[in-house]
């Protein structure tokens, strides 16, 4: 059939928080009997504002103007309160309507893998495309005894490997490298933080970073609370009066169960206010995940059918063809449920199922997301036995290569019970979704790398085309997140010919065919957002805890259960047979990907 056209809509730009300041005179009435309107000059208490009518004699403060009329008259002729800090009118229409403020980027764990693979390449890319202010400094801290030059050389070598745009431009790199300094020290050594504090003050004066600091914790998770506490002890968390923000970006994993996540939240909360905390889930920075919001709330036709009346069930799949990539000891302690289910899959689930937020700003958005997770009842051990499938891969073939089983990977216990696959059936007990199952699955060493969300709609209520040789399939809407980003809608069409055969056809929108393919890496998006103070795409404390509240009982129940007969799926297959059974017993099947 002729390919149907689908027009594309440009993603509306998220309003950055700084561009829409509340009008300064939005609240003319003081909340209570304060002596004068907020913009009154420091007059002696009880003094009548200059232009108040003669009928208002001098009275004690509690008789200061209170009615709308009095307030309005009191305000007459007064200078309006000064506008908020002037914004730069020349920025209008440029790529960034607001440049991040000058800042120091303090990278903890700078010698680690994440810093080299993701964080620094993202910063470099932002710098290369002139999206960072000239007044910024990258202060890298780590245990290794590097000096500035050796560390720069080390970073340079990694950039040559991991940068999204190669080769590295020498002149751009030279300018970037000038802004990198290395601070050696132990994360639990208070002296290090004292030195860091001095150095940052120096940097503020020398490089004009104006006291704005972004602490980026790219260390092992076990160091997070220690670093945050030490930052607090050294006073590095205090936001300065009159400018100078302090923000902390915390990488995953955020805790390893409900209790540890709550503890970490408490410890972070002792030092930083929630507004200063940016918990990264890099899935939220992905272009297609953000498009999910646009797709749902920027289009009018899907919302009316986005509920239990029309949706039969939802499948969310994150398939990886890779194994554990030499991170055996890490994975042994983590497993698929901690590594993916608690964060990425739950985030995707919230975005699919959430109610429309009141505005596209950090808190309204996250309020709605957290409501979804709150509506998932934690499972009882019995429900877990029924609704959760775990798996571990054995040896097999993936993409024409023979690969070892999980237990044969280095640093893995030969009798390991860690899961590399998980499939879960959740129900969201709210008005919109009651009774609609959400099937989530994630696995390593599956046949291909693919992530997608599939909304399976209900079948037609009445079968008209009984003579069709194939049953009309119910409609399906699939949102592919990677690798071939796009949206697919499946519907039935008549097979040309004399009979009346119905066949399912796909209407397929591919990102690559509609937009220039060069979309930013998730880390670039997220780091820029954090620098601009936009927390929409970061997870809030209550979100993290709610998600752990759902996942922790599952992990804990396994401690009391003998593990299944691991390995229970072959590398290169779509997971254990029980995962298929999970859907099959309800007359459904996983979508073929």
């Amino acid at each position: 059939m002729r390919h149907a056209a689908m027009t594309t809509t440009k993603e509306p730009r998220a309003p950055s928080p700084g561009t829409s300041p509340a009008p300064p005179d939005a609240s003319p009435a003081p909340p209570d009997a304060s002596p004068a309107p907020p913009d009154a000059s420091p007059a002696p208490p009880g003094a009548v504002p200059g232009t108040a009518p003669a009928s208002a004699p001098a009275k004690p403060a509690r008789d200061a103007p209170r009615t709308i009329r009095q307030l309005r008259l009191a305000r007459l002729g007064k200078k309006r309160p000064p506008q908020r800090a002037l914004e730069n009118p020349l920025r209008e229409g440029l790529r960034l309507e607001r440049m991040p403020d000058p800042f120091a980027f303090i990278l903890f764990g700078a010698t680690g893998d994440l810093a080299h693979r993701k964080v620094v390449p993202a910063l470099y890319q932002l710098w290369r495309t002139n999206l960072l202010p000239h007044e910024f400094m990258l202060v890298a801290t780590g245990r290794r005894p590097y000096d500035d030059d050796t560390f720069r050389a080390d970073l340079r070598a990694s950039l040559d490997k991991y940068s999204r745009v190669l080769p590295i431009d020498e002149a751009v790199w030279a300018e970037f490298a000038k802004r990198i300094v290395y601070q050696q020290g132990d994360f639990n050594d208070p002296v290090m933080y004292a030195r860091l504090s001095l150095r940052l003050d120096e940097i503020d004066t020398e490089h004009g970073t104006r006291g704005n600091r972004l602490y980026y914790l790219a260390t092992h998770a076990s160091a997070f609370s220690e670093i945050v506490a030490e930052l607090g002890r050294a006073g590095l968390d205090h936001e300065m009066h009159g400018g100078g923000w302090r923000r902390v970006v915390i990488e995953k994993p955020f805790g390893r169960d409900l209790e540890s996540a709550a503890r970490l939240n408490r410890e972070v909360g002792k030092v930083f206010r929630e507004k200063q905390v940016y918990r990264i889930d890099h899935y939220l920075g992905k272009e297609t995940v953000r498009n999910l919001l646009v797709f749902r709330f920027g289009n009018g036709i899907f919302e009316p059918i986005w509920n239990r009346r029309y949706v039969d069930h939802v499948q969310i799949t994150v398939a990886e063809s890779i194994g554990i990539e030499g991170r055996g000891s890490f994975y042994e302690e983590t497993g698929a449920s901690r590594d993916f289910l608690q964060n990425h899959l739950m985030q995707l689930l919230s975005l699919v199922a959430m109610e429309p937020p009141a505005s596209f700003e950090a808190d309204p958005l996250r309020d709605e997301k957290v409501k979804v997770v709150r509506a998932i009842a934690p499972k009882t051990p019995e429900e877990i036995r029924r609704d959760v499938v775990r798996g571990q891969y054995g040896p097999g073939w993936v993409a024409a290569e023979e690969v070892p089983g999980y237990r044969q990977e280095p640093e893995v216990d030969p009798e390991s019970e860690t899961e590399t696959f998980i499939a879960v059936r959740f129900e969201i007990d709210d008005w919109r979704w009651a009774g609609v199952p959400f099937y989530l699955r994630m696995g390593k060493r599956l046949p291909k790398r693919a992530s997608e969300i599939a909304i399976q709609f209900r079948a037609v209520p009445h079968r008209l085309f009984k003579d069709s040789s194939t049953d009309p399939e119910p409609n399906l809407l699939a949102m592919r997140i990677q690798p071939d980003e796009g949206i697919l809608l499946r519907f039935g069409a008549k097979v040309p010919g004399l009979g009346l055969d119905v066949r399912a056809v796909n209407m397929d929108f591919t990102y690559g065919s509609a937009f220039s393919v060069d979309s930013p890496d998730a880390y670039e998006t997220l780091i820029l957002d954090a620098l601009l103070g936009d927390a929409s795409l970061f997870t809030r404390a209550d979100e993290v805890e709610q998600a752990w509240g759902v996942v922790t009982p599952i992990i804990e129940s396994w401690l009391d259960e003998p593990s299944p007969d691991f390995p229970n799926y072959e590398a290169g297959s779509w997971g254990p047979a029980e995962a298929d059974e999970l859907l099959a017993r309800e007359g459904r099947r996983w979508r073929r990907i």
């Binding site: 730069n88 229409g93 790529r95 202010p133 071939d484 796909n506 065919s513 509609a514």
Partner: protein, 426 residues
């Protein structure tokens, strides 16, 4: 292949010949591959061919999954209409657009007219280019129709375009060279377009006359305009804006007293009218539109000739001092100079933008220059160097500019800038 011919065929080339082009083995991802080529001589035949492209199984890609059919998808984003009045412009446009396959246009019509005096004829080459965005992605295809119209048909290009547009997709009209905005034919074409893409810096003379026409056409036709000349300046704009990101300098922005833009010329007299000044005028217009400076008088030739002083070895100094006017800013008058200087750079290139601001007895001078890939910014506060920085940003190719110009996100301030520039032009 039958079809009622609305226009007599010229018989200049093969009759309705061509069809699918066999897929060569090992298509390289990202590289467009020609998958269809045919030649016809009437609108009806073109329509038929376009329908045929998508039914021929050769273009259908069946993925390894047996039941799941994935059809090669035509990109469904926009129609791109190119008016190339000379064949070499058409060839050049086609080469540029081909590099966009898989990125943007769904259907491209390249129109050129020839022998206006002869009887009407039409010659159309229909091609489909397909591209694999990635090895694991579905193929996406774009149609390209290269139409040469002769005789009266060539004077009514809108009648050729209208039936060939993909329904309901925005129409981008790229008009390289010298668009005759004042003609009836141009009006008719502009009526169909949502967006007009031009390159103001390629217009002959000083370009200001055509700039005025562009502004008129823009407001009358309610099209948005993308001008390569303006888009190329975004690196200047970012560099200039960055000065005023600094809170110490921001207050001066409202107290600008003087704007001087220097451009390169090859004309030794530097006489007004001899060199295209669209780019330097856009700089002034941009600043004026952002900073609420009103144009009361257009730019006129500055009176005094410059004293002879050699600027570059082997180059005589220009005699004229360029164009000048006074703008009315929110607080004070702003004097504006757009002046030529002999240079080996392409004529009309902006070489320098200088701003002078005075506030509470102190003076800020900003000087922005660009060479090759670097934009250089220097600022003096009361004569003392206060800031110096460089921005590296590559000059963009025509393909980049075209991609940006036809992408949905139009520059929200371009309309303002063009209107102000037109007022500056008189």
């Amino acid at each position: 292949m039958a079809g009622t011919e609305t226009l007599p065929a010229s018989g200049r080339s093969g009759q309705g010949s061509g069809g699918p082009v066999a897929q060569t083995a090992g298509q390289v991802p990202g590289e467009p591959a020609l998958r269809w080529s045919s030649r016809v001589h009437s609108i009806a035949e073109i329509e038929e061919e376009l329908a045929r492209i998508w039914t021929v199984p050769n273009l259908v890609l069946v993925r390894d999954g047996v039941e799941e059919r994935s059809v090669a998808a035509r990109t469904s984003v926009m129609n791109l209409v190119v008016v190339a009045r000379r064949p070499e412009l058409g060839e050049h446009a086609a080469a540029t657009i081909q590099q966009l396959t898989g990125r943007h246009p769904s259907r491209t019509l390249i129109l050129s007219s020839a022998d206006v005096e002869s009887r009407s004829w039409l010659d159309a080459q229909i091609r489909a280019y397909c591209v694999l965005p990635r090895p694991d992605a579905a193929e996406t295809c774009a149609e390209q129709i290269y139409i040469t119209a002769g005789g009266a048909a060539g004077r009514h290009l809108d009648a050729i375009v209208a039936p060939l547009l993909v329904h309901d997709l925005p129409v981008m009209l790229w008009w390289p060279g010298e668009p005759p905005f004042e003609t009836e034919a141009a009006h008719d074409l502009l009526k169909m377009a949502d967006r007009l893409v031009v390159d103001g810096s390629s217009w002959t003379g000083d370009g200001l006359g055509r700039l005025r026409q562009l502004a008129e056409a823009m407001d009358r036709g309610r099209v948005t305009v993308g001008d390569f000349a303006l888009m190329r300046q975004s690196r200047w704009r970012e560099a200039i804006a960055s000065v005023f990101d600094l809170p110490d300098f921001l207050p001066y922005l409202r107290s600008i007293r003087r704007i001087a833009v220097t451009y390169g010329t090859h004309d030794l007299t530097g006489a007004p009218g001899s060199t295209n000044v669209i780019k330097p005028v856009y700089h002034v217009a941009w600043l004026a539109s952002r900073l609420d400076m009103a144009v009361h008088k257009p730019l006129t030739a500055a009176a005094m000739p410059r004293p002879a002083r050699p600027t570059q070895a082997g180059m005589k100094p220009p005699l004229h001092r360029g164009l000048a006017t006074t703008l009315h800013g929110p607080r004070s008058e702003v004097s504006v100079v757009v002046r030529p200087v002999g240079s080996r750079m392409p004529a009309g290139t902006t070489l320098r933008v200088e701003l002078l601001a005075e506030r509470r007895g102190s003076e800020l001078r900003a000087d922005v220059t660009a060479e090759a890939e670097t934009v250089h910014v220097r600022v003096w506060l009361d004569g003392v160097a206060a800031l110096e920085r460089s921005f590296l940003s590559a000059r963009r190719t025509e393909v980049d500019l075209l991609a940006e110009a036809i992408e949905g996100s139009s520059d929200p301030i371009a309309g303002d800038v063009i209107r102000v520039a037109a007022r500056l032009a008189g």
